[in-house]
Amino acid sequence: MNFEDMKSAWKKDSGSNIEVPNKIEEIKRAELPLDKIRKNMRYEFIAQLIAVIVIAFVPQLYKLKPALLLPFNAIYILFVITCVYFFTRFYVFYKRAGAASLNTKDALYEVHYDIKLNMELYKMFCYMLFPFLYLMLALILINSKYEVMLRFLQSDFSHSSFYLYFGLSVVIIYIMLHFSAVYWLKAYYQKYATEIEVVLKSLKEE
């Protein structure tokens, strides 16, 4: 066998017994990395939307005291604005046209950039949502032990110990949040980013 034999064997391979689907809906999608990310986004968007709606009913569900309504609503408005910002960013990505028709190097750079950008967006989204949820949970806690908490806040308690416990809990939760986000992203997306990096490396000039 030589390369000419190969070329002639290659030309003779017609693949004529394969059927091409007539409609895009008939295709059983194998899913490329970016399609998988987009699919996850769709599910996450629905879950987030349900969460935003459910949180709006927290004052009614937990019968929040009138004094706690104002801080809760202020936090909720900021929470919704943050969610809208991230939803918009995710939507722009979701609707982005694919880069499949570019030359191979550019197409790979685009896919790699998109994967990395989305990993960072997810991380940022987690970090941004946490303070709102933390404050909302604190308000629910204050509401459930309202008299005790009121007495506690009005008493002559040491502010420094409060800040110490508050600071410590925030730091610990943020560390846990960071590592779980990194683990989750690594498990789902990093493998794609790494494989594309390897392919890009093999395209470098020699």
């Binding site: 190969m6 290659w10 499949a100 794609y192 093999s202």
Partner: protein, 156 residues
């Protein structure tokens, strides 16, 4: 699309060894071609545009099914030189694909363009690399392929 299905089948067969994965990749390429059709500039050749989309899809495709163990070794042992010409061609092709599947993703794309008689300049343009780089990488891929075919017990 019907006229070009053969070439899509060849790319699928080059990039993945498992038959189910080949079917999945074939369908994925068709889907990407449909989705990307808006980007087709009618001044260029349809086949060139299609090759790009198909190869870019195959490169970022990650196979789902586990690779079958050592099919190369089994094939190499079972092969006896057939007398019939058609059978010889069929076997050559089987060897050829088995060897192609062992190349890396970029080498496969380079070999594809070579088999489709693209010049080094055209290969460079489609891959986004220089003509010289395309030549160096293609020669390396061809040498690697030769060695792989020899390892399968076939004369080259």
């Amino acid at each position: 699309m019907e006229a070009h299905k053969g070439i899509i089948h060849k790319i699928s067969r080059m990039y993945v060894d498992d038959e189910d994965d080949q079917k999945d990749l074939f369908q994925e390429i068709i889907c990407q071609l449909w989705k990307s059709y808006g980007s087709f500039n009618h001044q260029s050749k349809f086949s060139s545009w299609m090759y790009r989309v198909a190869l870019n899809t195959a490169i970022v495709y990650f196979k789902k099914h586990k690779r079958k163990e050592d099919t190369y070794a089994i094939i190499a042992q079972e092969i006896e030189m057939p007398s019939e010409d058609a059978e010889t061609k069929e076997l050559q092709l089987a060897h050829f694909y088995k060897a192609l599947q062992q190349l890396d993703k970029i080498e496969k794309a380079l070999m594809f363009y070579y088999l489709e008689n693209y010049s080094h300049k055209e290969i460079g343009e489609n891959m986004g690399i220089s003509e010289g780089n395309a030549r160096v990488k293609l020669n390396r891929a061809k040498n690697k392929l030769k060695e792989l075919i020899k390892k399968q017990g076939y004369e080259f």
